[in-house]
């Protein structure tokens, strides 16, 4: 076991629609400066930095931190699809954990174009081709956005397996919007009814447009440090990482199940490892930020994380166990559905929300007495990062 790792500073910029944001380096610098100020840390104290982004030429990470300072520290650029942000966080955490540094910076940012995700490389195998093959075998290929086909298809398989109503998925975004109404960082804060969500144009049954997160631009950052460093900064009771695991695809991803293809087993195994590492099971978790890129994935993730038994998500939702007053508050920030999903920033934005929750700084969306928080960030291709945060 390595050293305890604390998250003493977090920051993010409000996310924006493509074409309406500042440039990536500007957004990233703002997020880093906010995180540094939050932790009372000087940039000169940062010994190494990890920068996560998916779209952009090489060394965008350096360009982003150079706007904050030119201290010559190592900067690593990380790309792990939609789980890029938490992958950056995990590397920074490992540096502290392993005693290599006392203080490290993780930053994630994304400046996206309009429209569904597409590939930039036409002369080599697409990294998702194994995943696409599974989908092709199971349901063929249509002209809908590929990610919606994958997560929508997993939703179909889930509905068939457990007899889940179409409305159940829509309820997830109705909840997300309710939560987002209290979050100044969320992009979509107007409430939506289940009927309105169901009535929006169909993207890929059971997903309607309001059940898919849109491409977004944004940045978020976190400062991680050792106990000694925190003490030096006078932080007596910091939020710390009680467990963190990344899992990539298993053989089961490439069988005949869409649910498994979109990363169910990665998430399940990562969560299990985190519960074991922290010695804390899901029943003790107070608040969760999970990867709701599509409503169907939020439903699957309840079960992968063990928030409810497999096949019981509908009951879990209907009984209000995913919101204030229930067993867990999931995505108090409004999630990817309401905040938007700048691929590189998402994992660190989830981290920021949970740190605020554990410090009691989440204002109107504060989960009362939150002490244990869980984060789930998933990228197809694939990687699932699950992190547990605690504040004693």
């Amino acid at each position: 076991m390595g050293r305890k790792v604390n998250v003493i500073g977090v920051g993010m910029v409000p996310f924006a629609k493509p074409g309406q944001s500042e440039d990536y380096n500007v957004m990233a610098a703002k997020a880093i400066k906010t995180a540094l100020a939050d932790g009372g840390v000087e940039y000169a104290e940062v010994e190494q930095a990890v920068a996560g982004y998916v779209f952009g030429d090489s060394t965008c990470g350096q360009r982003a931190v150079y706007d904050v300072g030119l201290t010559g520290i190592p900067v690593y650029n990380v790309n792990n699809n939609c789980s890029t942000g938490s992958s950056a966080l995990m590397l920074a955490k490992q540096m502290v954990e392993g005693g290599i540094v006392e203080c490290a910076l993780a930053v994630g940012f994304e400046q996206m174009k309009k429209g569904a995700l597409a590939s930039a490389w036409d002369d080599r195998p697409n990294p998702l081709n194994l995943h696409v093959n599974v989908m092709n075998e199971s349901q063929g290929f249509t002209s809908a956005p590929p990610a919606a086909q994958m997560f929508g298809g997993a939703g179909r398989e889930y509905r068939w397996k457990y007899g889940t109503k179409r409305e159940t998925f829509a309820k997830v975004n109705a909840k997300a919007r309710r939560h987002a109404a209290k979050n100044p960082y969320a992009l979509f804060r107007d409430p939506l009814t289940v009927d309105e969500i169901l009535a929006s144009p169909e993207v890929f049954d059971p997903l309607t447009r309001y059940q898919c997160c849109p491409p977004t631009c944004g940045a978020a950052a976190a400062i991680v440090c050792s106990d000694d460093f925190a003490k030096k900064k006078g932080i007596g009771n910091p939020v710390y990482i009680a467990g963190q695991t990344m899992r990539t695809d298993y053989e089961s991803s490439f069988g005949d199940s869409m649910i498994k293809m979109v990363g169910f087993d990665m998430a399940k195994n990562a969560a299990q490892a985190v519960y074991e590492e922290a010695g804390i099971g899901p029943e003790d978790v107070d608040v969760v930020e999970l990867h709701d890129c599509f409503t169907t994935n939020e439903v699957l993730t309840y079960e992968a994380l063990g928030l409810c038994n497999e096949g019981e998500a509908e009951k879990f939702i209907d009984e209000g166990d995913n919101t204030y007053g229930g067993k867990f508050v999931t995505n108090p920030s409004g999630g990817l559905l309401s905040k938007g999903h700048p691929l590189g920033a998402t994992g660190l934005a989830q981290c920021a929300e949970l740190v605020w929750q554990l410090r009691g700084q989440a204002e109107g969306r504060q989960v009362d007495g939150a002490r244990i928080a869980l984060q789930h960030n998933l990228g197809l291709g694939g990687a699932a990062v699950v992190t547990m945060y605690r504040r004693d």
């Binding site: 569904a116 995700l117 597409a118 590939s119 490389w121 036409d122 002369d123 080599r124 697409n126 998702l128 081709n129 696409v132 093959n133 092709n136 075998e137 199971s138 349901q139 063929g140 290929f141 249509t142 002209s143 590929p146 298809g153 179909r156 398989e157 509905r159 068939w160 007899g163 889940t164 109503k165 179409r166 890929f204 049954d205 869409m258 195994n269 074991e276 038994n309 019981e312």
Partner: protein
């Protein structure tokens, strides 16, 4: 290799865990992280005495190894106390391994009530008590794993163990049902039949075997079955000495007697080998499956009877193999000569039946229509092919009646496929009547001839069945015949007629004829039939044209000898119907009675030769080979005709074809297609020209070509699906371009042709469903919901109410639907025919479910309706 199977956080109860198998199970589960209740009464192997020593020892062993365990010393008969130990210590029970057991082996002769009862108390009642106490806890948890321990002695029997075998096998039944009750709550129940050297078997086995049968070989199976990963339930496993195998029931197809048939001990004796024939078997795993043959027998309805010569149930409706035959002008001419046509070539009337150069053209003598059916039947009989249930030989058969009808005049040559079926069977007392229907279809599969051959089977009746219709048809009216024709039958006529196909020696061989009780070879009944038919057509068909023939029906009353004089008497009942009968002048015997010929009022139009037309078309088509250039030209035009495609497409494809090499661009952004690189591609596809053409024709599967490396995709693979937008382009457009290229000029646009009309199948399917529900109202219980169907392309609406009784089905809409299904007519038909399952259609987005999903998951009950 997957992750190690672990039991961290799980609580297991192992009964009889102080020694042997139980101890081994407990140690393994504990080593893998389970918290274990080690139960052992500490008694002797016969179940006497009690001590805490052995359980404590195992608990100590587990703790030494770093595991968690508590001891319990209660008898399994006090299962509540054992489960309480687990709850007190850890507040849950995930695993129950019912292992405790004792022996009281006695030959049955020496068995006492006490010996019998104690074995049942420990094995059967004990397993019940422990499981019963754990059950509500597992239900609450939504998780449980239960193991019962049975024995090969119970499954196969073992001398001296009647008590033990019966108690042990009772657990198999227990587990079978409990596994069903536990499934919904993720409680999995399995039974093992271990062979292991344990306290109970010590002294029964030779030392070498004893050593090989260590409990260590059994416990891994218990652990696997109890793991979270396993989803096995209701299983029965034989295990030990290195063997791990699964046991299931096997049932012979057996013998099914139709309901209403008398079943006697003798009929079972006769069927005994069939009842015990394991060459064809089924493996039954549910009660419903077990009842399957019974339900099918009930559905088949009561038996229609029969005897050893005729089994009506088996025979009625039985189909004979298809027989293909062909004929041409020479066969027609030979037949006409065989029935006495053109006996005087100077009488030119009959020449048209035998001479291809006849003025006005040759015509088929229409009664030839009887030949394909009869010859098919005779041909099959000669090969020994008969319908199931018709177990008599041809020696019992008399040709009783014959009916033949043509749909249109016989062509001068044809290749026909004749499909024969057993249409009717009647019990005439001493004999039976069997009617074989034979329908002949032409080269295009269009029906040309319908026929019915009625056979009297001597000595085959008397099973008390229905006698069938007895009304006399085609009786001559009460007046002198309108026309009488005499034919002197030449002495060699049978020898000539038989060349048309009926080679029965009775008509040629004097010895054979005598053996059958005739003084000499007799004329074929169908030869007489041909004579009479020819004469009727000659007199009454307009201008003697045999093409006016529509149908003929006759009854064969007596036989005719070559050399006899045949008298055909005819009564014109209408312009289209002539009743007739035939007599032999010399004996004044009626040989054909109850006979009539029907004529067409107007000549049906001769059929256009569809197959020939198609062949010509195909030949023409073959001269114009589609090339990639034609496809691209067609796509270009298609894109210009349909600007919407480019709007949706927004992708540029480059095709790099090989053999021969060429490069093409399909620009779904700009809405054009042409040679070379006309824009920067988003996606590049590399494949051979032949494969590309096959793909475009729909003859090749894109995914298959892709996975076998015959298509290489570079660039934005996700955008490949946009090519689907071109799927609607008709291939005819490509052929047009190809023809235009070959002819070197533009082609006039073809006249618009209506698309082939699609016949909606929903009404057929729902009609069949209504019928099935009427016959099997219990089907509705399986669904128990109101289903609203919205069928598309073409649209129709249906309400299937399987919730209320009786179940109801109507077209239209309802407010009270539990589940709404939206599906295309063609996909619904695929469900009905079993070509698609509801699950696949749903996953592909072709079946939309609103409301409750559960009833839709049972949609496969539509299978078999089409």
């Amino acid at each position: 290799m997957g992750k190690d199977l672990r039991f961290d956080g799980r609580v297991a109860i192992v009964t009889g865990a102080g020694q042997g198998l139980g101890r081994s199970h407990a140690l393994l589960l504990a080593a893998r992280g389970a918290k274990v209740v080690v139960n052992d009464l500490g008694g002797s192997k016969a179940g006497d005495g009690k001590s805490s020593e052995s359980a404590d020892r195992v608990v100590e062993e587990i703790k030494q190894a770093g595991g968690e365990a508590v001891a319990n010393y209660d008898s399994v008969e006090d299962g509540d106390a054992i489960v309480k130990t687990a709850m007190d210590a850890w507040e849950r029970v995930d695993i129950v391994v019912n292992n405790a057991g004792i022996l009281r082996d006695k030959s049955f002769k020496n068995m006492s009530d006490a010996d019998w009862n104690i074995i049942f108390r420990v094995h059967s009642y004990g397993a019940y008590k422990v499981t019963k106490a754990a059950w509500p806890i597992m239900n609450e948890q939504g998780y449980g794993r239960i193991i019962f321990t049975t024995s090969a002695a119970g499954i196969y029997g073992n001398f001296g163990q009647t008590n033990y075998s019966s108690a042990k096998l009772s657990l198999v039944g227990f587990a079978n049902t409990l596994s069903l009750e536990g499934q919904r709550k993720n409680i999995l129940v399995n039974t093992i039949a271990p062979v292991a050297a344990s306290r109970l078997t010590e002294g029964l086995l030779p030392p070498a075997v004893f050593d090989a049968l260590k409990p260590d070989y059994v416990s891994p199976l218990v652990a696997y079955l109890c793991s979270e990963e396993s989803d096995a339930t209701g299983g029965l496993y034989e295990v030990g000495g290195g063997l791990y195998s699964s046991l299931r029931w096997e049932r012979t197809k057996g013998k099914v007697f139709r309901l209403g048939r008398e079943v006697t001990p003798e009929s079972l004796r006769e069927s005994w080998s069939q009842i015990n024939d394991f060459s064809e078997t089924e493996h039954i795993s549910t009660l419903m499956e077990s009842l399957g043959p019974v339900i099918r027998n009930v559905e088949a309805g009561p038996s229609k009877g029969g005897n050893e010569l005729i089994d009506v149930d088996a025979a009625l409706g039985a189909k004979y193999p298809d027989v293909v035959s062909s004929y041409d002008e020479s066969d027609l001419a030979l037949y006409a000569l065989g029935v006495g046509a053109a006996s005087d070539p100077n009488e030119t009337g009959d020449l048209q039946l035998v001479y291809e150069g006849a003025s006005g053209g040759m015509k088929a003598l229409a009664t030839y229509a009887v030949m394909p059916g009869v010859n098919a039947f005779l041909g099959l009989a000669k090969e020994g092919v008969t319908a199931p249930g018709l177990n008599y030989g041809l020696d019992r058969v008399l040709h009783g009646e014959q009916y033949v009808e043509v749909v249109r005049p016989l062509p001068l040559k044809a290749t026909l496929t004749t499909k024969s079926v057993v249409k009717e069977i009647w019990d005439k007392g001493k004999g039976a009547l069997v009617v074989i229907g034979g329908d002949s279809y032409d080269e295009d599969g269009d029906l040309l001839i319908k026929s019915e051959m009625t056979m009297f089977v001597r000595g085959a009746g008397g099973w008390g069945g229905e006698r069938g219709p007895s009304a006399e048809v085609n009786l001559p009216p009460d007046r002198a015949p309108d026309v009488v024709v005499e034919d002197a039958i030449p002495a060699n006529q049978a020898l000539l007629y038989r060349l048309s196909g009926d080679w029965n020696p009775l008509h040629a061989d004097p010895d054979m004829a005598r053996a059958f009780g005739f003084e000499r070879p007799i004329l074929h009944g169908l030869c007489t039939f041909g004579y009479a038919g020819r004469r009727v057509l000659e007199k009454y068909a307009p201008e003697g044209n045999p093409d006016f023939f529509k149908s003929i029906r006759v009854r064969f009353a007596d036989n005719v000898y070559p050399g006899d004089t045949l008298v055909t008497e005819m009564w014109k009942e209408s312009d289209q119907r002539i009743v007739f009968q035939c007599k032999v002048k010399e004996r004044d015997a009626v040989v054909i009675s109850n006979a009539a010929i029907e004529l067409f009022e107007k000549l049906p139009k001769p059929k256009e030769k569809k197959s020939e037309a198609l062949a010509t078309e195909a030949a023409e088509e073959a001269t114009v080979e589609a090339m990639a250039a034609d496809i691209i030209a067609a796509i270009d035009q298609h894109l210009k005709d349909n600007p919407g495609i480019a709007e949706k497409g927004q992708t540029v494809f480059q095709l790099q074809l090989s053999d021969p090499d060429s490069v093409w661009t399909i620009d779904l952004k700009g809405g054009s297609a042409g040679p070379g690189e006309i824009a920067k591609p988003d996606v590049t596809l590399k494949l051979s020209e032949a494969n590309y053409i096959a793909l475009q024709k729909g003859e090749a599967d894109a995914m298959k070509l892709f996975t076998t490396g015959k298509v290489k995709v570079a660039g934005d693979m996700m955008a490949v699906n946009k090519l689907e937008l071109l799927a609607e382009m008709p291939f005819e457009l490509v052929l047009e371009k190809a023809e235009a290229r070959v002819r070197g000029g533009a082609l006039a646009p073809p006249p618009p042709s209506a698309p082939a009309a699609y016949e909606p199948l929903a009404p057929t399917l729902f009609e069949a469903l209504a019928k099935r529900l009427e016959e099997q109202p219990r089907l509705a219980d399986e669904v128990g919901a109101v289903l609203q169907f919205y069928v598309r392309d073409p649209d129709s609406k249906w309400v299937v109410d399987l919730e209320h009784r009786p179940p109801a089905l109507k077209s239209g809409e309802t407010d009270g639907a539990t589940t709404t299904i939206t599906i295309a007519d063609a996909d619904l038909a695929a469900l009905g025919s079993g070509e698609a399952t509801a699950q696949t259609l749903f996953q592909k987005g072709k079946l939309r479910i609103d409301g409750e999903v559960e009833p839709a998951r049972r949609l496969n009950f539509l299978k078999g309706l089409i």
